[in-house]
Amino acid sequence: MKGMSIIVKKVAQLIAGFVFLYGIYIIAHGHLTPGGGFAGGALLAGAYILSILAYGSDYLKLKEEQTESSLSESISILLILMLAVAGMLMGIKVFFNNFLPKGTIGELISAGAIPLYNIFIGIEVASALLTIFLALIIYKEEIEE
């Protein structure tokens, strides 16, 4: 894949970082404003997909990125499960227990373990979407070859 024209490339260069940062913002404020892990994760994946689409990438590099993203997907799901089981081990045996202190409503650091779940879900969604995208694009590459 060659990538697109210089116009798209330059815009992608300028924008991708900010899209990524906005994704982080949506994840970090998931317990305060609409949004959260899924929406933010979609933005994180969008930033990567934007750069890959604009710049193009050769087949081998895409393969490598796919293994990495599927690995990070598995790890983040395991982390979510571990958080859930940690709630089960702490005190009363409750699966998905919110065991951290709650804080005051409206602050950034509040709502106990929910921001942690949001962060891991964000990583998971980002890497899952990236994996799906790469899986589809790799087959397209194979067809063209």
Binding site: L71, S74, I75, V85, M88, K93, F95, F96
Partner: protein, 508 residues
């Protein structure tokens, strides 16, 4: 609150996502950890079955507010533990069988990860006491099964998987629609709570619409006859262990189980719905058997026979519902439901075994066409013997378990004055015997034309088949009254006493 039932979901889920990480280092990790994990679950579920325990678990510790349940409930009662046992036992044997079989394909890690995901989803469906949560788990297991059907990535596999997915998506659409209608009507999602609300409301037209939607949605998953189009393709194209899982367990856990659970424990069923279910069951039984006769592909034959056997199960439950809704003798209903449950267990065992045998034949000869096979009995004694046992069992020959369950269903049908259904059940049983004899004759007896040098399958595969054929004989002991009282009767009691389930959830 000291119950450990979330482990049924947590352990397979964690295994499913450990496999892609550690499996990169050694290929044997996935192959060993999956059977081990499922064996543990197997022991745990059998312990729970024998101790006859009833447990309720609230995820996240959200206690009910003013007696209204607000959390996600996991409910374990005698009926769900029976299904959990089937899932774990068949799952363990199938994953052990795959140890050799799956090296046929590439990317074994993915296979085992998806397999564990499917098990986790089914366990979740069976445990969930919350109708939306049930839908989520159902989707987890069926999405894993979509991927597993397409695992061979040949032309047939992909086409079958696409068909399966389109129909599966329509089924999910209908299920979600009926869930939202139920929520609209009752403002709650908990099955027990919905049932309490429905007992006091009287909007029968609306309820009938929802019930029809639910029957068509879950009927698609359970492959009852007007909704059966995906099953022969999907079951014949999938790798054999997966077909054994799909046919033996998945269509029961996500189809029949949910229909039965919702109609017995949630809705106050009416006479018409009970008749509809009985008629659907009868149709599936007859048409499935008639379609199966003419098949030349082993696995397509088995898939059509699955439709027919699911019909028997549905008939059993349907007769029970008709008798209960007319206010007839409870003992007849108990007999019918017990027969249906017994047949459900038996069908999981012998249909799983038959698919594993078909897989063993395909593993050695690379074909599923009965026209080319023949005379394999000398070369593959274990496969031949076990498939003979399963065939006799499925067609209802006395010492095997299939005979007893069919007998109970037929006796119940006669007692409930469904003479036509009873007669048809006997006829279909004979047709079943006919096409399984054809299967035996074409594959294992007769003249061996093309495959003189094939050997018996490796240990892992033959072990699973031997265990299953022993189970085929051994499950007959479930008709002995004292064992039946221990295992089947509590499950029947949960189904026919609606208050028992509601009390277990609400008063927790």
């Amino acid at each position: 609150m000291d119950s450990l039932i979330p482990l049924f979901v947590i352990i397979p889920l964690a295994t499913a996502f450990l496999i892609p990480i550690i499996g990169k280092l050694t290929i044997y990790f996935a192959k060993t950890i999956t059977p081990v994990v499922l064996l543990i679950l197997c022991f745990y579920s059998i312990t729970l079955l024998l101790s006859n325990s009833k447990e309720t678990y609230i995820v996240g510790g959200w206690q009910p507010v003013e007696d209204i349940p607000i959390g996600i409930y996991l409910v374990l009662d005698s009926f769900s533990i029976l299904i959990l046992c089937i899932i774990s036992i068949i799952g363990f044997l199938v994953s052990f069988y795959s140890f050799e079989y799956i090296s046929y394909y590439t990317s074994e890690n993915n296979f085992y990860a998806l397999f564990c995901l499917m098990i986790a989803g089914m366990n979740g469906v069976v445990l969930s006491g919350d109708i939306f949560n049930l839908f989520v788990f159902l989707e987890i297991s069926v999405i894993a099964s979509y991927a597993l059907v397409a695992f061979g990535v040949g032309k047939n596999e992909l086409e079958a998987s696409f068909k399966y997915q389109v129909l599966g998506n329509i089924a999910s659409f209908l299920i979600l629609l009926s869930i939202s209608l139920l929520y609209w009507q009752t403002k709650t999602l908990n099955i027990a709570d919905i049932s309490e609300v429905l007992q006091t409301s009287d909007d029968s037209a609306f309820l009938k619409f929802t019930q029809v939607l639910l029957i068509s949605g879950f009927g698609l998953k359970a492959a009852i006859i007007p909704f059966h189009a995906w099953i022969p393709d999907a079951h014949s194209s999938a790798p054999s262990p997966v077909s054994a899982m799909l046919s033996g367990v998945l269509i029961k856990a996500v189809g029949v189980y949910v229909i039965i659970r919702l109609f017995f424990n949630m809705f106050v069923f009416t006479h018409e719905i009970a008749m509809v279910i009985t008629v659907l069951g009868t149709l599936s039984m007859i048409i499935g058997a008639l379609l199966a006769i003419n098949q030349s592909d082993i696995k397509r034959l088995l898939a059509y026979s699955s439709i027919s056997q699911i019909g028997y199960i549905i008939i059993g439950f349907g007769i029970g519902m008709v008798v209960l809704s007319k206010g007839g003798k409870v003992s007849i209903a108990v007999l019918a439901i017990a027969g249906a449950l017994f047949h459900m267990v038996n069908h999981a065992v012998f249909k799983g075994l038959l698919f594993l045998c078909a897989g063993a034949v395909e593993y050695r000869t690379n074909t599923r066409d009965m026209g080319q096979l023949g005379g394999l009995a000398e070369n593959m004694p274990i496969t031949s013997t076990s498939s003979l046992g399963a065939s006799l069992s499925i067609s209802g020959i006395p010492p095997f378990n299939g005979f007893f369950s069919k007998l109970i269903i037929i006796i119940a049908a006669v007692q409930a004055r469904f003479y036509l259904v009873a007669f048809l059940a006997v006829v279909v049983s004979i047709i079943t015997l006919a096409y399984f004899l054809k299967f035996q004759k074409r594959v294992f007896y007769g003249v061996n034309k093309n495959y003189k040098n094939v050997k018996e399958v490796p240990f892992a595969m033959s072990f699973s088949m031997i265990v299953l054929v022993v189970l085929c004989l051994g499950l007959s002991i479930l008709v002995i009254p004292s064992i039946r009282e221990l295992i089947l009767d509590p499950a029947v009691n949960t189904l026919i006493n609606m208050d028992q389930y509601i009390n277990q959830v609400i008063q927790y």
